[in-house]
Subunit: 412 residues, 2 copies
């Protein structure tokens, strides 16, 4: 099985001014097609250091993916380092020069002389097109290893990797075609999901099932390898059905879908509208819902009723109810949701009230206590939660959980 190594070049990464997301992106993409990354190096803009590191990476792996150092300035030295590694010189490629000039012309600018260097490629290496910027990539072969240089700017790198590098990777991954499907879950912990899947998570299984967690969202990656694409696709689909049958309603979506996107799509399809009334989440739920392009189709009104008077004046929550049960109570959550739905005349209304902390907790009502109510014409559901960690995570988890409650309601 082929192995990969990643080399990230740039003083701005070493100094911590830029977090290197390129390496994680490449690792995920490579793992998904069955190529493990066995080492990753970050170095500054110094030619000797770059050449030495390319050699180290070449000792570790068959495929060496390099990002950064392809810009037009003096501290961009990846081209020169590749030439030194190959023992050749840089050669002007007139076709590349034309393309770079076109890039500037299309933006009504003249190419600065400084960008001319980007049209040079080490003799014997191949240039990779960059449709989003001026820095072409480089693909070089040395002693049976492939050294590939891509720009450091993430969106240029991703475009180049997916367009010019990934399609040629199939040969590296056990000689098989690999298909990956992602299944996103919400509503339980990672260990609980592992228990539900038992043997399916074995490391020697094909398809391989990897899980990752991000803010309560658990993503299962199904990695199917087979001699042809149809077969791999079928294997992945079979596993998707299997996972869905084992996990049921814990599965909310696929690929990079967020809960807000999925809920938004369901609302749009069912031609339903939503309004929200937030206390402790202070706008987080509205912000998640409106983060989705086209949200105006179903989202109309949001209230952040942080003070009691806001709850009373804007949502018509009875003062007595707050006096009797406190503003953090199921009764007030329900009254907030009903008030929002009535004022906004939406099909659904969600209300959240709780104690995000760090102050304000009591023994009976600790920090992390949150009531969430999802109200609709025919049904009103209020749930009590205790979320943990800090203020930010309590707020985030409460908003996500509210979206999940609405999802389950829309799925019925």
């Amino acid at each position: 099985m082929a192995k990969a190594s990643i080399v990230s070049i740039g003083n701005e990464i070493l100094s911590g001014q830029t977090v290197d997301t390129n390496a994680a992106y490449l690792s995920t993409k490579l793992l998904a097609i069955g190529i493990p990354v066995v080492s990753s190096y970050t170095i500054g803009d110094e030619i000797d250091s770059i050449v030495r590191t390319l050699n180290l990476a070449g000792n570790d792996a068959d495929l060496i993916l390099v990002t950064g150092g392809l810009g037009p300035t003096d501290d961009d030295l990846t081209r020169q380092a590749f030439a030194q590694l190959l023992g050749t010189d840089l050669q002007l490629d007139n076709k590349l020069l034309d393309k770079i000039q076109e890039f500037f012309v299309s933006r009504n600018r003249q190419m600065p002389e400084i960008n001319r260097i980007q049209a040079y490629t080490p003799a014997g290496a191949k240039a990779l097109p960059n449709s989003l910027g001026t820095a072409p990539g480089i693909w070089a072969e040395l002693h049976g290893k492939s050294f590939i240089a891509m720009p450091g700017v993430p969106f240029e790198m991703k475009q180049m990797f997916e367009e010019s590098v990934l399609p040629k990777m199939a040969g590296f991954s056990f000689g098989n075609v690999v298909v990956v499907k992602k299944i996103n879950c919400f509503g339980t912990g990672e260990s609980n999901i592992a228990e539900l899947l038992t043997d399916l998570c074995r490391r020697d299984r094909n398809p391989l099932i990897n899980s990752t967690v991000d803010c309560g969202v658990i993503t299962l990656h199904i990695v199917a390898a087979a001699e042809d694409k149809n077969k791999a696709q079928q294997m992945a689909e079979k596993d998707e059905h299997l996972l869905r049958s084992k996990l049921g309603k814990l599965v909310y979506g696929t690929d990079d879908q967020t809960l807000a996107e999925v809920v938004g799509r369901m609302l749009a399809q069912q031609k339903k509208t939503i309004s929200v009334a937030e206390s402790c989440t202070g706008g987080c739920l509205a912000a998640m819902l409106t983060d989705v392009p086209g949200a105006s189709e179903y989202f109309t009104h949001g209230w952040v009723t942080y003070s009691n008077s806001a709850k009373i004046d804007e949502l018509g929550v009875p003062d007595e109810l707050i006096q009797k049960h406190g503003s953090v109570s199921s009764q007030v959550a329900e009254a907030m949701a009903r008030g929002a739905g009535k004022r906004a005349a939406t099909h659904f209304a969600i209300a959240i009230t709780g104690i995000a902390g760090p102050a304000g907790g009591t023994e009976q009502k600790p920090v992390g206590l949150v009531y969430i109510c999802v109200d609709s014409d025919n049904h009103c559901e209020t749930k009590r939660f205790i979320f943990s960690h800090n203020r930010a995570s309590i707020r985030h988890r409460a908003a996500q959980t509210a979206l999940n409650m609405l999802r389950l309601k829309l799925q019925i």
Copy 2:
């Protein structure tokens, strides 16, 4: 001047399942005290590979910071690798064992036998206390170089670094005591700030001034080195005055303060209250304001008036105004702010209306066009902006810019 190298250990980082934020954190902290990171390595959980990489890092630098691989399971091999590097054995440290047992007792659990390994330290090395978890760190000296292992869990690592490592770093940075002050700016670009500072940013200057950028916030790190702390403190303070005099109102705060925190503190001190009315930012501004603990002291009401009818019904924006100027206009922004301030009876009201995209733009009103109004009893200020990049960054920048407008108003 001393140099540092970072080694991150863990299959979960190599596989891209975890983005390595530890390296960026350490780089920033070290740079701030004048120690540049010259290389950074990421490797998997294999002992030979770890030992080889420790040697490589030792060739690059004087200070080698290692994170990860200190857990209790079989794939945690940093302790063993350190012993191999030093040519010694692991020794049981009974004091460490007591501490680990206490950790479990305090959580009403018995220590699993597996955690016993965490009480072992390579002979000749020093253990570093972990107040938040069970994995102690390791500090070893070899050939005049310092090798320091810390846990991979970010909050445990940060705590250990700041408590046990950073205080001992002074000796590494030109043999001097180092004092760092951070100055946060908002309202212009990094290159504009560099122009205003000119010679102050010279790399051979003491104090050294480094700048970092995050979502429009530009942070200047003043790194003052001197023979004693008082002197360094004085130098840093002198530079702080100098920077403040050159940058004026661009400076909004120090250290890790956010715009929302600074604005919140000003509101609390001046006993003023605020309400917000948001369209394109959809709750982001309210979420930022309420992200600050204690925000209920000054923040009372927020409206997310996404639909026109919400603007009309909830904020009293005249329908004719929307018909005449469009909902994205200075007139509607002003009416939203006035309506919010009136309903909420707050001293200040902010309104934001714009086009976050990707759809909805026209030639006259392109994606990124945003009107922000800050209204108070005696003055109403509305500004027009064109923000760039994508939906998320347009929304984020609009909300931050609104906070900054309020800050400038509160500073008068």
